[in-house]
């Protein structure tokens, strides 16, 4: 704890406080919430001051600074503050008050109407934003109309059997087409003034391209909005550019960071982006002696990226520790910690941290669905049931709550009910990928591959980084014996998680099934490399052996078979199907090359496997003994 750290805290406090205020004013409620939470999670300045009373003198300057910032605000009231901050004229400010009230009353069209012809970037943002929300609401309503109409048709036999569910899902699938079209949809009141994403985008681009000074919060918000629009249109590259511009103008908009993250689909992109951002933020701040607040945001972003794409775990933990030091009471950070444990399949630790988070902030439902996943995997039904009850007590109509309840039912093997709750979660939050993926798993449980495929597809449509969904797709197609498709999906999941043995293994077996043994071997080898203890992984070894045999490379094949058998001896008597089969193969091989003694020994060791195998081993043993004699 030194002076620079204290100054950082002061700086952060000031900046977060302002951002929470600003973002709230411009109706970015989630970002504002995040900033405010972070602000409250900051380590206590008082405490530090007490601990380091010597340095109080040094602290004076930034603190005084802050006071001088704040004084006019408190004295002249918010009115002055806003006009000073955002450069609105009196008339504009009055207009803002009206628009803001209308926005809060969810009268978006009116809000947009009153703000027509505003040149102030903030007001323009508010106008376009409310137009977007109005558009979103209307398109959603029209889509839902179609849905209810169609579901009304087969209402009669809704839950009668699985086929119906499948049909319904197929319809969902068709709506997927609708949803991709949704971005192009025009909302029109019939008075020739249609609203669509492209129209909004055009207006925004016209404004941004008109050579207006590119600074200030208003511009940052406009760039953010443009990114959102581009994302709607499915042009990630332009969206990334917009988000990046927004972030450089105003780093404290957390939703903007997450949106930026959501634009990335491949790990390599994430690395490049990080590098870029590093350069950007570090270069700008080289002359500063202490880490300033902006860089803290980058650190948060690094954590988020790591959650999605993984990377260097040590670096991650370093960042996390640092941030936890700055924000000891920030639930978001703790959740990140828990999530990383979850991703690394360290369930007990993750569970422990989640327990802490709940203690710290009991009514925070964010990410608790992951917690329920952990409880599901670790098979703690009573705790899961409690969590489900508790969450539904807090808010029944949250996607997270529904996911928790769905997990609960799934744990109780009530898959239909579970699916129902997942569906409910999705109608509350369309972009909840994990719900789609989990619903896919439920359908797999119900042996309904087609429905499962639909679910997985929806999941990857929304979030192409969800390797579980890709993997699920691969598996579902494998069940349907469509290996060409299956292979492609495994490739996808493998590209996302190239350090996961399971991915390579699945890919390899798929290559094997389509008859491409060479590539299968490559993949198995890769899987073996990634295996925790490669000597012990008999399944992989055996598969490799078989593949080499198929390529008539008997020598290598024999090598792998021997390795396989060696496991039995090296790890005291660990016998399984593969070792038995390898043993049998070796026995057969030695028999062929007339090494009857070896063959005999090997054949004797076959005690595991199907009756035929054992029978065959016995025959070989008998034959060997006969020959040896």
């Amino acid at each position: 704890m030194d002076a620079s750290f204290l100054r950082l805290i002061g700086d952060l406090k000031l900046k977060l406080r302002r951002s929470a205020n600003d973002l709230l004013r411009w109706k970015l409620y989630n970002s504002s919430k995040w900033s405010a939470e972070a602000l409250c999670g900051l380590c206590d300045e008082q405490e530090i001051n007490n601990n380091h009373s010597k340095q109080e003198h040094v602290d004076e300057s930034p603190l005084k600074n802050r006071h001088s910032f704040q004084k006019p605000n408190t004295e002249n009231g918010t009115r002055e503050q806003i006009s000073a901050n955002d450069g609105m004229s009196n008339a504009e400010y009055d207009l803002y008050l009206l628009a803001s009230a209308l926005f809060d009353c969810k009268e978006f069209d009116r809000c947009a109407y009153y703000l027509a012809n505003c040149a102030h970037p903030g007001l323009l943002f508010l106008r376009l934003y409310s137009k977007l929300l109005s558009w979103d609401k209307k398109t959603q309503e029209s889509v839902e109309n179609i849905m209810t109409l169609e579901s009304g048709l087969d209402e009669a036999g809704r839950y009668s059997n699985d086929n119906k569910t499948l049909q319904k899902l197929k319809k969902y699938g068709h709506h997927k087409g609708d949803e991709t079209k949704k971005a192009q949809k025009c909302v029109d009141l019939g008075d020739g003034d249609p609203t669509s994403i492209s129209i909004l985008l055009k207006e925004l681009n016209d404004f941004l391209g008109s050579g207006i000074q590119k600074t200030g919060l208003g511009m940052a918000l406009l760039y953010y909005l443009r990114g959102v629009l581009y994302k709607h249109q499915g042009i990630p590259s332009s969206a990334i550019t917009s988000f990046l511009t927004s972030i450089t103008l105003y780093p404290f908009n957390w939703t903007c960071w997450t949106e930026l993250l959501n634009c990335l689909t491949r790990p390599d992109e994430s690395f490049l982006l990080l590098k870029l951002l590093n350069e950007k933020f570090v270069k700008e701040n080289t002359d500063e002696l202490f880490f300033d607040g902006d860089q803290v945001m980058l650190r948060f972003f690094k954590l988020a990226i790591f959650q999605e794409f993984s990377g260097n775990i040590d670096e991650f933990l370093e960042e996390l520790d640092y941030l936890l030091m700055v924000f000891p009471n920030f639930a978001f950070l703790k959740t990140q910690h828990a999530l990383i444990n979850y991703h690394y399949m360290d369930y007990p630790n993750a569970e422990f941290i989640f327990d802490q988070v709940i203690k710290l902030d009991p009514y925070r439902l964010d990410d608790l669905d992951i917690y329920s996943n952990i409880l599901y995997v670790t098979q703690k039904p009573s705790k899961l049931a409690y969590l489900a009850q508790f969450a539904s007590g807090v808010d029944k109509f949250r996607a997270e709550t529904c996911c928790i309840i769905a997990n609960y039912y799934s744990a109780k093997q009530e898959h239909e009910k579970s699916i129902m709750y997942f569906r409910r979660a999705l109608s509350l939050n369309k972009s909840c990928t994990s719900a789609w993926t989990l619903m896919g798993h439920e359908f797999v449980e119900l042996k309904n591959s087609h429905a499962a495929i639909e679910c997985y597809r929806r999941a990857v449509d929304i979030n192409a980084r969800d390797f579980k969904a890709w993997y699920g797709l691969g598996q579902a197609y494998e069940v349907l014996d469509m290996h060409l498709y299956s292979l492609y999906y495994f490739q996808k999941s493998c590209a996302l998680k190239p350090l996961d043995k399971r991915m390579w293994q699945a890919l390899a077996s798929c290559y094997d099934k389509v008859g491409n043994s060479r590539e299968a071997i490559k993949c198995f080898k890769r899987a073996l490399q990634l295996s925790v203890n490669p000597e012990q992984d008999t399944a992989l070894l055996y598969c490799l052996a078989v593949l080499h045999e198929r390529l008539d490379d008997l020598k290598t094949c024999k090598g792998y078979m021997e390795k396989c058998v060696a496991v039995e001896t090296n790890f005291d008597g660990m016998v399984n199907d593969e070792t038995a089969k390898a043993r049998l193969w070796l026995a057969r091989y030695e028999f062929k090359v007339k090494n009857f003694a070896t063959s005999y020994n090997l054949a004797l060791g076959v005690t595991h496997g199907t009756s035929q195998e054992i029978e065959e081993a016995r025959t070989i043993a008998r034959e060997c003994r006969r020959r040896m004699d």
Partner: protein
């Protein structure tokens, strides 16, 4: 009193308005009965009327206006000009000043009544006393003979639309004098009451129509009204009998429209009704050439699309505006603003700027209309709509703006507004073609094609020269896929509107749909000759050559279309279709990179479309970018699962995917290598690197450039 400053006073014609109440007492009483209300209501008017110095010009109405104006604001009318001028122009004097006197003069001029010149004619001539000084400039009503007083009475009644009075008195005068002039004026009365047949009979009675050009003109006008076109043509003659061999036309003296021009105009109208558009065009052109002031003839030429866009400009350039003296620039620019907006846009804009700066006509309906037309031609529908609405705020049912507005609403899908405006129109103008065009358009927007057809046909029956209605009518067939009928409807339209390329374009499109490429080509070429600037046409030509397999030509035309549409907003449908077509052409020509760029651009601007994605997948497949191909095909199938082409291609791609070697260049291994090396970023072989560098570049510039790809497109060619 500042009478001298009123606009009415500035015009010498007004001094001699023939129907002015005299100053003699009996006359005053006489008129007092007739105009009782006027005089009773205007005590001050009467008092001024009684002052001894007044000329005949001071008709009570004018005085009232002047008084009120001068009483209200003592400043000269330049300041209160709008009010005073407006009111003054509403008086009968204003009316007369514009029309009647010049006709009168012509009657006298051509027939040369000599000393028998009487009454109104005499009044008329007085203003030209430079060469026909027979009557003193200032005369007193009281000095006139009795018949003359009756004539004044008749005239005043006519001007105030007391037709029965006018007829009654006129008939008496005619019976008393048997003057051909009185016959003419009686015929005018008949014409105004709509009794055309009586007018014709009266005029042909004494062979008046043979002896007087004016009478002949009126006869022909009545015959046109009676739809006796052949007879009317006989009356006016098939060609201009007054045509000057040298081509120069005598300067008009009174500032009105020359009768010769009116005759030419009438001839044009007759030819139009007889469906001989070539002759009609010549007649109208002649009418304008003879007298530039004949705006109606000019308007007919433009609004009925008798001239091609290039011809329009050429014709305007050939016109001589010098006759208009100080109004030369004003009228010239006004005319320019009416011309086709397909070419010479700068000049149109210059004209707009001139009219707005010099004459403050920014809010004038015709300037706005011209701007609307310009926006409409450029497919900027929403801006056009806003401008139309601005104009309609002041003149809600302006028939000049409405057709454009209705078309805009159709383009923008404003069915609710269309509904309202259609109802309003049907209420107020049930006999106007625009009304039924609007109703038809409304039914088109809500996809009730049969009803739409009914109303379009109604509109075109009411006004056969209303182009939009014809085309709309033909469209209804095209929408339903009834090519034969559509073709015949378009063909009719193309006969009616030789100056517009649209019917031929649509004909070509129909033939294109029916796969008769040679015919389509023929029609497209016809359309191209008329208007080589329309991107839609160029696009269709590109498609046609594409279908013919002539990809180089297709590329040429699509490029042209692309050039033409560059300035337009990108969300318009034509923009998208041109880019898609261009992309397909590149695909066929094997320019893979360019095709990919184009397809991507289309996808980005127009959103995802199954066929575009399928084509993109195909190109990627050909470029051996298997992963991208599969992704694109997947997207395509996600939108439409039954897309056979995508399914086949996807299968092919997946099969190739299986056989691809997992060497170091395989994307899978590359990404896994990258991941292994963590954030150190040593390995960046893939296009991800390219993309990020792009981002970096953009970041450094601190701005976005979504147009970059377009610019790239330009570079390649």
């Amino acid at each position: 009193m500042s009478h001298g400053n009123t606009p009415a006073q500035q015009n010498p014609i007004l001094n001699f308005s023939p129907h002015v109440p005299g100053q003699s007492h009996e006359n005053l009483q006489h008129h007092g009965q007739q105009l009782g209300i006027r005089q009773a209501s205007g005590a001050s008017a009467q008092s001024t009327a009684q002052t001894p110095h007044h000329t005949a010009a001071y008709s009570p109405l004018v005085q009232k206006v002047q008084n009120s104006a001068t009483l209200a604001t003592p400043a000269p009318h330049v300041d209160n000009g709008s009010a005073a001028g407006l009111l003054a122009s509403m008086t009968k004097n204003g009316l007369l000043g514009a029309g009647a006197p010049s006709t009168l003069r012509k009657v006298s001029g051509f027939r040369d009544f000599g000393s028998s010149r009487v009454g109104s004619t005499a009044f008329e001539d007085a203003k030209n006393d430079a060469y026909q000084a027979s009557v003193p400039a200032v005369l007193s009503i009281a000095e006139l003979p009795a018949a003359e007083k009756l004539r004044l009475w008749r005239h005043d009644a006519l001007m105030q639309h007391h037709y029965r009075t006018a007829e009654y008195i006129g008939d008496k005068v005619y019976s008393m004098t048997h003057d051909p002039n009185d016959a003419f004026w009686l015929a005018q009365v008949y014409y105004n009451t709509g009794a055309y047949i009586r007018a014709v009979e009266l005029l042909s009675h004494d062979n008046l129509d043979a002896s007087s050009v004016m009478c002949r003109y009126l006869t022909a006008l009545c015959q046109v009204k009676l739809k006796k076109y052949e007879e009317a043509l006989d009356t006016v003659g098939e060609t201009n009998p007054f045509k000057d061999a040298n081509g120069d036309h005598p300067k008009n003296v009174d500032g009105g429209i020359k009768l010769v021009s009116s005759m030419c105009f009438l001839r044009g109208k007759i030819y139009c009704a007889l469906n001989s558009f070539e002759k009609a065009k010549e007649a109208f052109k002649e009418a304008v050439q003879v007298d530039i002031k004949n705006f109606e003839a000019f308007d007919e030429l433009i609004s009925k699309s008798l001239l091609t866009p290039a011809d329009e400009w050429q014709f305007l350039a050939s016109l001589d505006f010098t006759e208009l003296d100080d109004n030369e620039d004003l009228i010239k620019n006004l005319y320019i603003s009416r011309l086709s907006k397909f070419l010479n846009l700068e000049e149109v804009e210059k004209a707009h700027a001139f009219l707005i700066d010099e004459y403050k006509l920014g809010d004038n309906i015709d300037v706005i209309r011209s701007k609307c037309d310009m926006l409409f031609t450029q497919c900027k529908f929403s801006a056009c709509m806003k401008l139309c609405e601005y104009a309609l705020e002041r003149d809600e049912l302006s028939l000049a703006i409405l057709p454009t507005y209705i078309s805009c609403l159709y383009e923008q899908g404003g069915k609710n507004k269309l509904f309202l405006i259609s109802h309003k129109l049907a209420e107020h103008f049930p006999k106007s073609a625009v009304t039924w065009f609007s109703v038809g358009t409304y039914y088109m927007t809500i996809n009730k094609v049969a009803e739409a057809r009914k109303y379009f046909s109604k509109a075109s029956i009411i006004d056969p020269s209303f182009g939009q209605a014809w085309i709309g009518f033909a469209h209804t067939y095209a929408v339903e896929g009834e090519h034969e009928q559509a073709v015949s409807a378009y063909a009719t339209a193309s006969r009616f509107f030789p100056g517009t390329h649209l019917p031929n374009l649509f004909l070509g499109m129909q033939y294109l749909l029916m796969d008769s490429l040679p015919l389509a080509e023929e029609y497209f070429i016809l359309a191209y000759e008329v208007c080589p600037y329309d991107p839609l046409l160029l696009n269709e030509m590109g498609v046609m050559y594409f279908k013919k397999g002539d990809y180089l030509k297709a590329k040429k035309y699509l490029k042209k279309a692309w050039e033409a549409i560059k300035t337009l907003c990108s969300e318009s449908k034509s923009w998208v279709s041109i880019h898609t077509n261009l992309a397909h052409t590149y695909r066929k020509l094997g320019h893979n990179e360019r095709a990919v760029k184009c397809f991507k651009l289309v996808l980005e601007t127009a959103g995802r479309d199954t066929d575009t994605l399928c084509a993109l997948g195909f190109v990627y497949l050909r470029m051996n970018k298997i992963e991208k191909a599969i992704d694109a095909l997947h997207c395509s199938l996600a939108i439409n699962p039954s897309n056979q082409a995508s399914q086949d291609l996807l299968k092919q791609a997946l099969e190739i995917n299986v056989t691809m070697l997992l060497d170091d260049d395989h994307p899978l291994l590359v990404s896994s290598n990258i991941q292994e090396k963590g954030a150190r970023l040593l390995n960046r072989k893939r296009e991800g690197e390219f993309r990020a560098s792009q981002i970096a570049k953009k970041l450094k510039q601190g701005q976005e450039s979504s147009d970059e790809e377009v610019a790239d497109l330009m570079d390649v060619e």
